[in-house]
Structures are given as C-alpha cells and as structure tokens.
Symmetry: C2
Subunit: 197 residues, 2 copies
C-alpha cells in the first residue's frame, strides 16, 4: 500500500484523515506525546503508518494537527520571537492577543483549552504542547534555563487566557489589547530574561 497508490485511489479521503486525527487525539491524551508512536495511531485508525506520515508529516506535526488549533502555534510564535530575546515579551503578547481576539479563531482555541483542562487532558499540554511548541521557542530565543522560563511564561499566559476568554473577568475581559500588552509585558519579560531565584 504505497502512498502513490493510495493517492491515486482516494486523495486525502476526509474520513481517513478524520479517523487518524481521532486516533491521534486519543493516543496523545492517553499516553502523552512521548508514549505515542505513529505506528500505534495508524493501527488504531486502520491505516498504514506511511499514510499517516503522508497526510500529516512528522509526529510533531501530527500532534499540532490533533490539537485542532486554527493556526499552527509554531509558525505564529516563531515569527513573534524572531528578534532579540530582550524585546520578545511585547511581541509575544501582541501576537498572542491578536490571534485569540480574532472571532474566527477564538471558538476553536477555547475548545482546545477546555479539552486540556478536562481530566486526562493535562498530558496534551504537559507532554505535547510544552516540548513540541513552547520549549523550541525558548531555544530559538537562546535564553538560559528555558526549562524553567518557558513554563513560567506559560503560567501567566494560561492565567490571562482563563481570565480574558474562559471566565471573562472584568476589566481583563474587555481591556484593549495594547493595554494588556503594557500590563503583562514586564511579567513575561522577567520570566524570559530577567533575574530569577
């Protein structure tokens, strides 16, 4: 069952891709990112592992696809932190808020957050989002102690998400994005490059 044969028959069958994504989400949630193999996902979905690679690329890519985010966070965050680490906080926050404030993206992002916050969903972020998305950002920035700093950034960003979009606490829910950037940038910048105990 080569990729070309399959492509010749049914190019990107929606139900096959959907079955792979369902299998991927269940595997990643149950076993975490490290404990999941493409082969196991392919097996669950009843397809060949080569087909999974053909449709989704690497395991990292499949993980991000399985999160069902409206944007690839690696591309968005990567672009936001392209400059010097000492100026990254403002850009990160501005990018982050522009994506989350977009009414075309927000429902899907909220659904992902709710899935992560459900019992069992913790592995998705702990063993997937963190190593696949967040820690590479720390490496790209070239900061020291990325294993501590990026989780600290995550802890304030998660709190901001919950306050602004999930629980909608005023005035955080309705403040202008630039006002929030100005408020939170010193916190995020200290977590990224400031002195830490």
């Amino acid at each position: 069952m080569s990729t070309s044969t399959r492509r010749g028959r049914r190019p990107g069958r929606p139900d096959t891709k959907a079955a792979i994504l369902v299998a991927a989400r269940e595997r990643f949630a149950a076993s975490g990112f490290g404990g999941t193999t493409i082969r196991a996902i392919a097996n669950d979905a009843g397809v060949d592992a080569a087909l999974v690679h053909h449709y989704f690329g690497s395991k990292d890519d499949l993980f991000v696809a399985a999160l069902e985010l409206p944007v690839d966070p690696r591309a968005v965050i990567g672009a936001a932190v392209a400059g010097p680490a000492e100026e990254a906080a403002e850009k990160l926050l501005r990018t982050f808020l522009s994506v989350w404030d977009d009414p075309g993206f927000q429902p899907a992002l909220l659904a992902t957050v709710r899935r992560i916050l459900e019992p069992g969903g913790d592995k998705l972020i702990r063993e997937g989002f963190l190593p696949v998305v967040l820690l590479p950002v720390g490496e790209q920035l070239g900061i020291d102690r990325p294993d501590l700093r990026m989780p600290l950034v995550a802890s304030q960003v998660i709190g901001l998400i919950v306050a602004r979009y999930v629980v909608r606490i005023e005035p955080i829910a309705t403040l202008e994005p630039e006002h929030l950037v100005a408020i939170y940038a010193p916190t995020i910048q200290r977590y990224l490059t400031g002195p830490l105990p």
Copy 2:
C-alpha cells in the same frame, strides 16, 4: 418557626442543608451572585428563607459555603494580608501554596476549580468569588485601583494553579513552595502596588 424551635426539633438536618447548598450552587451558577436571592434559593430548596439565614448566615457566607472549599478563603486570605500592602505578595503566595499543597485540601480545591472552568461555571468566579472574596482583599489592603489590581493578581494565581495542580507542568508542579514564592512574588507585588499603565 423560630430558630430555637427548629433547633429543638432537628438541629441542622443534613439533607435540608444539602438541599439548600444544591439550590444555591444552581442559582449562583445560573444567575450569578448579584442575580440570586436567598429567597429564590429557599424556594428552590423548599424551605423558609429564615432557615437559610439560620444555617448559612449572609448571602456572602452562603456563596462561600456553596463553593464547597475546604477553608473559608476570606479568613485565610484576610489573615495573610493583615500587614502592609507592600509586603503582601509573599505572604499571599505562601498562604496560598500551603493551603493548596495540603493533601487534605487539594482534591476539594481542584474539584472547585474544575467546576469553575466548566461552561457556565464562569459566573461563579466572575460574579461571586471576585466581589465576595477578592475585591474585599484589595479594600483591606487599601491599594489604589483594586478593581484592576485584584483581577491581575487573580490572573497569575489562576495560571499558577493550572500549571502546578491541574496540568502539572514541570518544574512548576514540583518546585519547593519557597522557590515559587520567590519567583512569583515580584509579579504579584507589582500587580498589587507597583506602577501600572
């Protein structure tokens, strides 16, 4: 139906108290704190409003009881911020972590957080926890702009809760409490008393 008569007959019948708490949780979740009356809760529970007051005190007290927290956050937080506002962050964080790290309290606290994060649970924190618990702390501290500062504090504390206890992101999940106090105190202190845009 005087208090003494009722006390004489059935002192704090567990099923009546439970029925009042169930009615209170449903009302507070559906209508928020401001939109809920003791009378409506009493009606839902099939008891007299005076009995609700007798068992639970004020509407504030009933709200806190309905949260089913293992401690009264007003007492704990109030004691933690009894000193000057300029030193409140460390004490708040230390108290907060000691309660959350207590294995006797953590399951009930986690259950409350999950309830708040579920769809519909947002009103519990937005229209209840914030005005009943958090804003009075700001007033007790005598800080300016408590309506902005206390929600900012909440946004970092929520993120810390999610990172340490819900999603269990390393190293935040296992760092010593005093290490976390040292890391987060400057953030919380700036939100409480520092310069803000």
